[in-house]
Amino acid sequence: MKRINLLLLAAVLVLSAIPLLLPVSDGMSEPFPGADDQGKAAIIASHPDYKPWFTPLWEPPSGEIVNLMFALQGALGAGLLGYYIGLKRGQAQGRRRNDTDASD
């Protein structure tokens, strides 16, 4: 199981690394833009008269703060997920240990 999971993880890493190694964003004004921003740009290109009628209530004042918030989001998720899996693994080990103790 561990080996399968490591292989799956390696596949994800390869899938994510391939685009970085290929010349896929050659000729783009900026390499690897966000698809969400491209979607916005496509709207503006086909409907130049459209005026967004609402602006974000709060915007991170700089790219650094955006990074902070994304890192925070990832850390909250990874922290909780890691806690859960670690807890469950520990509980499973404890149960196994108790079982072997009881059978002694």
């Binding site: 994800v12 685009p19 290929l22 979607g39 915007e59 998720g77 997920l81």
Partner: protein, 223 residues
Amino acid sequence: MHIMEGFLPPLHAAAWTAVSLPFVVTGARRVVRIVKQHPHAKLLLAACGAFTFVLSALKLPSVTGSCSHPTGAGLGAILFGPSVMAVLGCIVLLFQALLLAHGGITTLGANVFSMAIVGPWVAYGVFKLLRSVGGALTVAVFFAATLGDLATYLVTAVQLALAFPDPISGFAGAVVKFAGVFALTQIPLAISEGLLTVIVINLLTQYSRDELDELAFTAEVAG
């Protein structure tokens, strides 16, 4: 899949909010019921939310030369049913709209519909279908998470095409255009999401048998 703040005309924004609201309300009721009936599964439910938090924070490069992110919505849909994800997805989208100016309040309904409703229902449907025809658990999980993720991005493309049909090629042309931006980019990312979801399910079937039993998920696995 985020439609940016203000980038849906008011009528569209209101309509998608009206469509999504009942799903979120039903989902919230279901979350309350799950927490009451299966208190032991509470932490697993939170872990499913956490998975969505991590995955939607990962902006990955794609072969189209642009970046997008997985959604992580398939896992919770498979384990707890799709309606639960309407709530968890809504929380993630609110976090991003308020703290990251990513997505928006006016487009929340539309974004919830694609990421937290259609994606999870597709994932759930694919999972049930593959299991019912005897597909292996990991295979069913992989295709469920992958296709659910792709469906989300296709819905975003359709939503934008409805609001912004192409001046020349109309709605159909706009679907193709927006799908080129969103869904094409998403293909390798959706595969990554499928693989990551299988990893988590592998860990859960190994360590969280008791919770999965309680959710009658292992009956599902055995059956």
